[in-house]
């Protein structure tokens, strides 16, 4: 029983990071109607940027965070412009394969960079964010934990307000509803999709900061499976729904933490598999997710 609350905290941490990444997936999927396979790798690029800024360049932390967010946003923008925009209107298969190509390109570029610069692609951060900790009874909650939860909650509420209240947000809603009609109403579809990609990548950068602060490592392949689990979270909550992505992320994170903590050691080697089993079950039974909308295919 004494493992229960620490595991729950672990799950909330992991789940909050998943939630931030899932927000990016859900927005891009909802608006551009494409699965951005490279989204997970944007986190990896963000984490490497942090690593280079902190360990090699010794920049102040606030500047490091801004640089990471900027690098990821610009990356998201460029990828969308160069790889995805030319394919708008062609088959979904072509877009998906291109996205896989982009994901592999980013991974291998990072691998090449890390190998030539540091000799190894998995690198560890020295703990760069120390916020003290809070002790309640037997349970210790670190400042980083609080930071992760608060950031995720603030971003979720912020995104919901942004979509509902601002002009750009409403343009996004319009584009996700009907691209053609939105264009006729004077919405600049290309610009809206670009903004979506930039926001999604910025969220991925924030996720990478929180990930690095909590787990303190970076690796060229860290984004690919992580990203797919986050996509699982987005699907779980219902694609297109912002609170759904956060709920899905937290649920997947908690399930993963509990399966790692409570299953016997011999089964633990397959802990990665459990998130995917949940994904398959979820997609098979309820593809629209918890908070998603049902759509029917028209002829």
């Amino acid at each position: 029983m004494e493992k229960l609350i620490p595991t729950l905290i672990d799950g909330l941490n992991l789940g909050s990071v998943y939630a931030l990444v899932a927000l990016g997936y859900t927005m891009v999927y909802g608006i551009a109607k494409m699965l951005n396979f490279a989204h997970g790798d944007v986190i990896m690029v963000g984490a490497y940027t942090l690593f280079v800024c902190i360990t090699t360049l010794h920049l102040p932390l606030w500047l490091t965070f801004i640089i990471a967010i900027l690098v990821c946003s610009v990356l998201g923008f460029i990828v969308e412009k160069l790889a995805y925009k030319p394919l708008r209107g062609s088959s979904p298969l072509a877009v998906l394969i291109t996205a896989i190509g982009v994901s592999y390109l980013l991974q291998n570029l990072a691998l090449l960079f890390a190998n030539t610069k540091y000799g190894m692609d998995k690198q560890f951060f020295s703990s760069f964010l120390n916020l003290g900790s809070l002790k309640i009874g037997n349970v210790t909650i670190s400042g980083v934990d609080f930071l992760i939860w608060i950031t995720t909650a603030v971003i979720m509420v912020g995104m919901m307000l942004f979509i509902k209240k601002t002009k750009t947000g409403r343009a996004m809603l319009a584009v996700s509803e009907d691209k053609g009609a939105a264009q006729l109403m004077g919405v600049n579809v290309n610009k809206t999709i670009s903004i979506t990609f930039i926001i999604g990548s910025a969220l991925a950068a924030i996720a990478s900061i929180l990930f690095a602060a909590k787990y303190q490592f970076v690796e060229s392949t860290m984004g690919s499976l992580f990203g797919i689990k986050a996509f699982a979270a987005a699907v779980f909550g219902g694609i297109g729904s912002i609170p759904g992505a956060v709920i899905g992320g937290v649920i997947i994170g908690i399930i993963e933490a509990f399966s790692t903590a409570f299953l016997p050691g011999s089964v633990n080697a397959a802990s990665d598999g459990f998130a995917f089993v949940i994904l398959i079950i979820m997609l098979v039974l309820k593809p629209t997710g918890l908070l998603g909308k049902q759509t029917t295919e028209k002829v």
Binding site: Y29, P86, L87, I100, V284
Partner: protein
């Protein structure tokens, strides 16, 4: 029997059979280093490369069946490959320990490994019939990862170390003959499916599912069938891989393998069996050939950064073949020749010819 008699009546089949036999004789001589010209004989590395190419050809052609023919993206091919490899190699070990010679044991385990993989394909495809496109791709990817992570913990599969001491062939020539036979069978089966009534039904499903359904084509049954057949051959390739490598482990069956095979399918041309074969041969050979070309820095870089180059080529290929702007540009530049590059148009043409 009637269909068998018809089989040899068509001229095309006869030519294909003669071609396969001639190719086999040529390669056989080259394997035994008995061709008159020295450079035609295969070196040891190229001999082993030829086996590697065989299982990549089978993988690429079977994946092309799903991607190009059914029009659904499957990212779980490594999963079927793994199911085939594990079940087939377990059977092969058992059979050889019972005293059965390795070649018949190989073919028996190929069938069993293939059937096990086909069962996996049947289960996964029948459970995801409601899905298509991105969701289907993600589920197949998840399926591959589930297979890989569970192969680590299922007792009897050797954990992360995997299965060791899988029986091999007595010589490279025997190994080559067996893999050549498998490749020919795979190509023959897929060629026949694509040219049959069933094949045309599947093409109809790919081009317009709703229209196909409205004229009475059983979309679900065909989807399951194609998935199962594709998985069967991926499983057979897995057994061949086990025999070739003498060891299989979960680390061989990552999602990277599925992507590598997908790259072969895309580069060879989605929907083209010939293209998949050529792409599988070239992409398997290139890293080794480049490394053997001497200490040229550029070649070595490409050989080491294989996946980097492939991913770039993949993006450029997709933009070139599918982006509306590029297609228009090509039409302006080459006129009607550009239709040759566009796989969709090409398939439409063959459909008209058949009708």
């Amino acid at each position: 029997m009637k269909s068998f008699a018809n089989f040899f009546k068509t001229k095309k089949t006869l030519i294909n059979v003669i071609f396969a036999v001639l190719l086999y004789v040529l390669l056989f001589l080259s394997f035994n280093k008995s061709l008159p010209l020295e450079f035609l004989n295969l070196s040891r590395t190229n001999q082993s490369l030829a086996i590697k190419m065989s299982y990549y050809i089978i993988l690429a052609v079977s994946l092309n069946m799903v991607v190009g023919f059914l029009g659904e993206l499957s990212l779980g091919h490594a999963g079927f490959f793994a199911i085939g490899a594990y079940s087939g190699c377990l059977i092969a070990k058992l059979l050889v320990s019972m005293g059965i010679p390795s070649v018949p044991a190989f073919f028996i385990s190929c069938i069993i490994g293939g059937l096990a993989a086909a069962l996996g394909g049947f289960l996964i495809s029948s459970s995801i019939l409601r899905l298509s496109g991105d969701y289907l791709a993600i589920v197949t990817l998840a399926f591959g990862e589930v297979i890989r992570s569970f192969s680590k913990i299922i007792p009897g599969l050797g954990g992360t170390i995997g299965l060791m001491d899988i029986p091999g062939f007595s010589s490279r020539t025997v190994e080559f003959t067996c893999s050549f036979i498998l490749v020919v069978i795979t190509l023959a089966v897929f060629k026949n499916i694509t040219n049959s009534t069933h094949g045309r039904a599947v093409t109809a499903i790919r081009d317009n599912t709703i229209a196909a359904q409205s004229i009475g084509i059983n979309v679900k049954a065909y989807k399951i069938k194609i998935f199962a057949i594709s998985a069967f051959f991926a499983g057979v390739a897995g057994v061949l891989f086990g025999y070739y490598n003498n060891n299989i482990a979960p680390s061989y069956f990552t999602y990277n393998l599925s992507i590598e095979v997908l790259i072969m399918v895309v580069l060879g041309g989605i929907g083209s069996i010939k293209g998949s074969v050529i792409a599988a041969i070239v992409l398997t050979g290139i890293p080794d050939w480049l490394r053997n070309m001497g200490s040229n820095k550029f070649f070595n870089f490409i050989a080491d950064q294989r996946m980097l180059v492939y991913s770039l080529v993949l993006i450029i290929m997709m933009l070139f073949t599918s982006a509306p702007a590029f297609i228009n540009f090509r039409k302006k530049l080459f006129g009607n020749i550009s239709n040759k590059f566009n796989f969709k148009n090409k398939n439409k043409k063959t459909a008209e010819e058949v009708a």
